[in-house]
């Protein structure tokens, strides 16, 4: 008999009529989740303190795919940095490129042509659809909905085909250049994109029909992982997570890094911010992206696809055999790159996961002195503790999936 049980029986003896019930004995258990686990969406390790099946404390451990990209960027000329930064958050490479190219364009005060701005928007919104599709497929897979994964990856493949058409690569396209985009879209791209845009809303409605009122999906997501928007803002959380909690905050609406103000689109927001709201927010965002794409394609301006400043932009290939000037510029840009006057710039864009910021320090040479990415996954991951503590360990999987962390972006 333990001391506690003795004390209980003493009380029962001394106080007539009293019965004392002891809580069943509980034991804290520390378990390790990951780093190699399909439900962690990458190489994420979680140290979870459990009491029974309830999460009492949680500590994310990251850094397993750290590759020193920021350090490597310091050794490369400005335009050679682009392929490096693409590989950080490997699901939103166009956004990484825009954050970086936008920062350098601010540093050298280079205006990009209208057509390039529109082409960038088209590719970024396609990329947002692609990123949300991968998220939706893998999240549904975590919750046991196998077929969603195949449906989402079917549409994702069409988007990758489009990227292959315009840029020659399916992922990590290096399509954005400082000053614009590397090549104009080829013949047939518009037709294929239009066909995709006609089909996509139907497809999204099919996903909704599969999940929106799905009993299992509702029971797994409704009411789990909600954190107040005030707390989310304190933790620096942005993107669909913040919007699902009811805060209509989107950098596309409030800043002017690209002419999003010319398009008519909405910012879907949620009400309570649980897993279901996060799902609804992202799916509604996919409809908005389709709307932006339709308008951007309809209003695509004519003109050059890249700025005409030969000090920063490679001359057209055709000029190299006829113009000495062009050859000199080409040689200078390819060997040394261009120099940037000292200064520092922070440029933020709205990525599928929130505010993606790029901080570049120029020291006057042709290589950046510092490239830093404020990755939304890295900052958002801090909120996982608040979202998951107090819920069951099975719901932790759902909460993590709805957080949509990309470990390549977290670890860089």
């Amino acid at each position: 008999m333990t001391t506690l049980e003795k004390a209980a029986s003493e009380v029962e003896e001394q106080v007539p009529g009293a019965t004392v019930e002891l809580e069943p004995e509980t034991e804290m258990m520390t378990i390790n989740m990951g780093p190699h686990h399909p439900a962690t969406h990458g190489v994420l390790r979680l140290i979870v303190q459990l009491e029974g099946e309830v999460v009492k404390d949680l500590r994310p451990i990251v850094g397993y795919v750290h590759t020193g990209i920021e350090k490597s960027c310091e050794e490369k000329a400005y335009w050679k940095v682009i392929p490096y930064v693409e590989r950080m958050d490997y699901l939103s490479y166009f956004f990484n490129m825009q954050a970086y190219c936008g920062a350098v364009e601010k540093l050298i005060d280079l205006e990009i042509p209208r057509r390039a701005q529109y082409l960038r928007i088209i590719h970024m919104e396609l990329n947002r659809l692609h990123s949300h599709l991968v998220w939706l497929g893998t999240t549904a897979l975590d919750l046991g909905a196998m077929s969603m994964f195949w449906y989402c990856f079917r549409e994702r493949d069409t988007i990758l085909d489009l990227f292959e058409m315009s840029a020659g690569q399916r992922m990590h396209t290096r399509y954005f250049q400082i000053g614009g985009v590397i090549e104009d879209i080829p013949t047939g791209f518009e037709r294929k994109l239009l066909a995709f845009l006609d089909e996509m809303p139907t497809r999204i409605r099919q996903y909704e029909a599969l999940l929106d009122r799905n009993e299992i999906f509702l029971r797994r997501t409704k009411g789990f992982g909600a954190v107040s928007k005030e707390r989310l803002l304190e933790l620096g959380v942005t993107g669909p997570l913040l919007r699902a909690a009811g805060e209509p905050w989107d950098l596309r609406k409030v800043t002017d890094y690209l002419p999003y103000s010319e398009f008519d689109f909405g910012i879907p927001i949620g009400s309570v911010g649980d897993g279901y709201d996060r799902y609804r927010c992202r799916v509604a965002e996919m409809f908005e992206s389709v709307k932006i794409l339709q308008q951007a394609l309809a209003g695509l301006p004519e003109g050059p696809h890249i700025a005409n400043d030969r000090k920063y932009v490679l001359p057209p290939r055709s000029e190299l055999s006829t113009s000495m000037e062009s050859l000199i510029h080409h040689f200078k840009l390819v060997t040394e790159g261009f120099r940037v006057a000292p200064g520092e710039v922070y440029n933020a864009v709205e990525s599928p996961r929130g505010e993606l910021g790029c901080f570049v320090v120029a020291d006057g040479s042709s290589k950046p002195a510092r490239v830093h990415f404020r990755d939304p996954s890295f900052v958002n991951l801090q909120a996982l503790h608040d979202m998951a503590v107090g819920t069951y360990v099975a719901d932790l999987i759902q909460t993590l999936a709805m957080l949509d962390p990309i470990l390549g972006g977290i670890d860089r």
Binding site: K106, L107, G236, V345, G357, F359, D363, H372, R374, F378
Partner: protein
């Protein structure tokens, strides 16, 4: 963004409350920045956060940079934002290297530059301060758990510093694991 005169107004108001806290202002490429004495960084951040009319309550990003050979060498940047007015302001705390001129400091030897942590004021800074510590060896006093975040916990040195040797890191294989390559690396590259 506060424009250039607006930035001077902010500086003036901080000056009346806390003379000498703001060393300089900069308005480069339309980006306002306050360059602040690193010992008073927390006071300036609290003022920008709490003062009615300022309310820069959202910390977008916190990052460090190494400006070698400039003196003071390090800086920690706080990208603050007022979400109602959509105004950004950068606060930049300059930090001198206490080991300036002594070889080996980039490899983890000697004293580290120190700065007050702002995790109490901005809970989002937790991971980002750990990242700055991890890569630059900047110590944030008062941080609830200042450990390496992206690099391994037994990593030696501060790799994002500009004088960190690139490519010179020996890899332990079975044939050389006896000779403790990490410590050899320290003694040889520290000398040159």
């Amino acid at each position: 963004m506060p424009d250039a005169p607006g930035l001077e107004l902010i500086r003036g108001e901080i000056e009346t409350e806390d003379p000498g806290a703001v060393l300089e202002t900069s308005f480069d490429r339309d980006q306002p920045a306050l360059i602040v004495d690193s010992t008073r960084i927390l006071a300036v951040l609290t003022w920008l956060h709490d003062t009615p009319g300022q309310e820069y309550t959202f910390l977008s990003s916190l990052h460090a940079a190494d400006y070698l050979p400039a003196e003071p060498r390090f800086a920690v940047h706080y990208e603050l934002m007022n979400r109602n007015r959509v105004e950004r302001i950068r606060v930049k705390a300059l930090l001198a290297d206490p080991e300036a001129g002594r070889p080996g400091s980039e490899l983890g030897q000697g004293a580290l530059p120190e700065l007050d942590s702002c995790v109490e004021l901005f809970p989002t800074a937790n991971f980002q301060e750990r990242e700055a510590y991890d890569f630059f060896g900047i110590v944030f006093k008062g941080h609830p758990g200042l450990t390496r975040i992206l690099l391994a916990e037994d990593y030696v040195g501060w790799p994002q510093r500009r004088d960190f040797p690139v490519g010179g890191e020996p890899v332990t294989f079975t044939y050389n694991e006896e000779g403790a390559p990490a410590s050899e690396h320290l003694s040889t590259s520290g000398a040159d």
